[in-house]
Symmetry: C2
Subunit: 198 residues, 2 copies
DNA sequence: GACGAACTAGGACGATTGTCCTATTTTCAG
DNA sequence: CTGAAAATAGGACAATCGTCCTAGTTCGTC
């Protein structure tokens, strides 16, 4: 079936782009991985940028799906944020090898001056909006976006260094710190809501 | 003179690697920028990896020099750490366009499985050790390395997101937060040294 | 069962890649 | 001034890049 082959191509490209980068992954590499000819390849994707579009859309869909699942599973917004923070540990091995899929793609496309850079940034926006929504539900109001960006930035930095030093201990320690930070934020919020004590 | 041309090559390669990445920068690109022939080029650098080595060594030397200058200029270790944090603002424009030179190179080489990955990580180590030394002087003892890594990670994350969103406000806000964090760390330290109060 | 569309294979294309070679020019010590 | 070494230019090299084309094959629909 057509869609099946197309799906296999995007899936293979997704993995290769993550592991070796967009620029370093060739048309031939993907075709070889999928086990199809380059000619067949071109029937599904006219240009390399088309594949990139496909990969980004796939990641957008997958991410959205994951965030939706969290939205249902965890009843507590704080617990959902902790779910986000813990991706660093869940995907720890991959991150130590290849970095964060979102951050590294965004950085590469920025350097390549690639038109799809904003599409890659949309992946970040997905997380950002989701996190902001959780903070809003916790009652942080206008500060929610700032807090979302803060968490997002922290996890990006942790991914970068865990990758550079291949350091699992650091990664886990920073995850703890981020959870501690979250607890403090929530505690400060409840204090400021009841300034005179109970 | 020989060394002069060599220096110009490394300088141009340094900039191009930063702005467009190592993989995306070709031999011809560098030669064109410097204004020399590819043949002349090969006389100075046998392979592309040799240029990468040259660029990394140049960055190592420049970084070391910058850190040494800070070590002399600022008498207070805390002030020196603030100098480090403020690179984000000083180089803000470049960072928003191309990300952090250290982090993006490290990420790219990790994906390329390049032998020089550890050399690029040495750039991180330079900052890490310097920061650890400052924390040690402030009296943080065994915690110094953890704090150094924390600061390093935070700035990496800020650079990644400032680049992805081209957001100067976020960058400046996070720099403030990092400085606040530093103040809290120092305050906590002095409190724990005088647990019963003055 | 026939026929058009979708799918697949494999090769050709010009351009560019990193690398290497051979001339020519420049530099500088004896 | 001379001759060896260093520096430079420019092209050749095979390999690979993204792209495109032309054949076959398979499929679904009348």
């Amino acid at each position: 079936m057509a869609t099946e082959t197309r799906e296999r191509i995007v899936e293979a490209a997704d993995l290769l782009f993550y592991q070796h980068g967009f620029e370093a992954t060739s048309f031939a590499d993907i075709a070889r991985t999928v086990g199809i000819s380059r000619g067949n390849f071109y029937h599904h994707f006219k240009t390399k940028d088309d594949i990139l579009d496909g990969v980004i859309n796939r990641r957008l869909a997958n991410t959205e799906q994951m965030l939706d699942r969290w939205e249902i599973a965890g009843s507590d917004p704080a617990e959902r944020i902790r779910s986000f923070i813990h991706i660093l540990i869940v995907n720890g091995e991959k991150i130590r090898k290849f970095g964060c899929p979102v951050g590294t793609l965004s950085s590469e496309l920025a350097k390549l001056n690639h038109a799809a850079k904003s599409d890659a940034a949309a992946l970040f926006t997905l997380f950002r909006s989701w996190l902001r929504r959780q903070f809003e539900r916790l009652g942080f109001g206008d500060k929610s976006d700032e807090l979302a960006m803060h968490i997002l930035g922290r996890s990006q930095g942790v991914a970068t260094l865990a990758n550079a030093f291949d350091d699992d201990r650091f990664l886990r320690h920073e995850v703890e710190l981020m959870c501690d930070w979250l607890d403090v934020q929530i505690a400060d919020l409840t204090n400021s809501n009841h300034p005179t004590g109970e």
